[in-house]
């Protein structure tokens, strides 16, 4: 945890003025549905990617039947499928889980990486710039990488829990590449039912041919941008499967094994 004095000083740059009626679109994390549904194998949502793009132009997620990894950058949704191809997502496609915001980083919080940076060092560097452990953050790293390991989950014929699906994930060793890491950091006090606690990052290469859920990387140079998010909303699915599901199991262990 940051010391109180340091946090107070650093927090000044992140203050915002809430509107009278609704949270600012620029500081709102939108979670399509609680991630516990995905953990418990509810892989089919009724929300379209087009609906999600109306709520935010930056984010990550997956498609129905856990069909790969989704990256939303500058309002465009890309998918890295389990078969290895990267493609544009049609707005009519549906998703069981995405998280998005309107990208509007704090200029004061742009950080240039100082040289070769391992994955764990990169996360520590990013976290070191958070003025508080108690907010959400959107994170974007534009950089050149010595190497990158990503994964994509494989489209499922039948619903089954996320941890089981993740055991069959496709792993991609990208080698030297340039591109963007994007995603979010969620404070731990919200538990594991709503969203992935801590970091959750996906990658998309500059030429839009490579991507997926980040497993490991080594950055050679890069620019880190951070946007503090001061509010969150989530819809609860209307599907019969969600309404009838037993969601009483703690999803923390499954999320940790599937997402880290």
């Amino acid at each position: 945890m940051l010391q109180a004095a340091a946090a107070k000083a650093a927090a000044a740059a992140f203050l915002w003025t809430p509107g009278a009626d609704s949270p600012s679109q620029h500081t709102l994390l939108h979670v399509t549905s609680p991630i516990i549904g995905l953990v418990e194998g509810l892989l089919t949502g009724e929300t379209t990617v087009g609906d999600v793009l109306q709520r935010g132009d930056f984010g990550i997620g997956t498609l129905n039947h856990l069909d790969g990894e989704v990256m939303v950058l500058d309002g465009v949704a890309y998918q890295k499928g389990g078969e290895g191809k990267c493609r544009l997502v049609d707005p009519s496609e549906q998703t069981p889980f995405m998280t998005v915001t309107r990208w509007c980083p704090d200029v004061a919080d742009t950080v240039q990486l100082s040289g070769r940076t391992e994955h764990s060092e990169l996360l520590a560097e990013i976290e070191g710039h958070f003025p508080s452990q108690n907010l959400f953050y959107a994170i974007r790293v534009t950089g050149r990488f010595e190497g990158m390991r990503t994964r994509s989950v494989i489209k499922q014929a039948v619903d089954r829990p996320l941890a089981a699906v993740a055991k069959d994930q496709r792993v991609f060793e990208l080698g030297a590449c340039s591109g963007t890491l994007m995603g979010f950091w969620t404070p731990g006090y919200l538990g594991s039912g709503l969203n992935v606690p801590g970091f959750h990052l996906h990658f998309l290469s500059d030429d839009k041919t490579q991507g997926g859920h980040l497993l490991d990387c080594v950055a050679l140079e890069g620019k880190v941008q951070i946007q503090a998010l001061h509010s969150a909303d989530t819809d609860l699915p209307q599907t019969q499967d969600f309404l009838a599901a037993d969601l009483t199991r703690d999803p923390a262990d499954d999320l940790n094994s599937a997402e880290k």
Copy 2:
């Protein structure tokens, strides 16, 4: 848990059509800030009750410095203070924690109590009408009571954790009375950081002279109304105290001892 078939049948009455841009105001639970702040003794918010009333006309909460219990009914906020008086709240007063919605119950889900009903029976009766354990519900019981026990927390001179404050709460034995129980039910999969899991009900007498956080009651007759809520939003406080707080402790035990 309900059986799947029963849940699917019962759920039909609760389906709604989400708007293109934002969740329906009629199905939105608004949480002013995560309750873990209150649990950890952050008793001062910057949100006014007037701001909260713009987000909903039905709900419960407290005032800054944990000054009593708040009941919002038909767009009017009342406070039962620790000193025992019930009064109107001025919209300029501030709150560290409230939960509200726009009250719009499902007509099909109005239930007449069949006779003398103990507190535990009342909660079981209400829960028995939920089509799913996985949604939020707003709950309103208009009734005549043989007896009622409520509590109000006492305004604090200095910040201290909720469980410590609750040990000094004022308890009121109301005797025979008529009035309204109001509040919410929150699904357990969201943990204890955002809102009180399960039931959280306050009481306000018809003559607006009695009220507080419900501890126990015996209903003689009454009407139960239930409103399913399919989305939720929360703002994260901007106070320096919140940004600097250590919120890593699990609040479940403290919430259970303070609120049940």
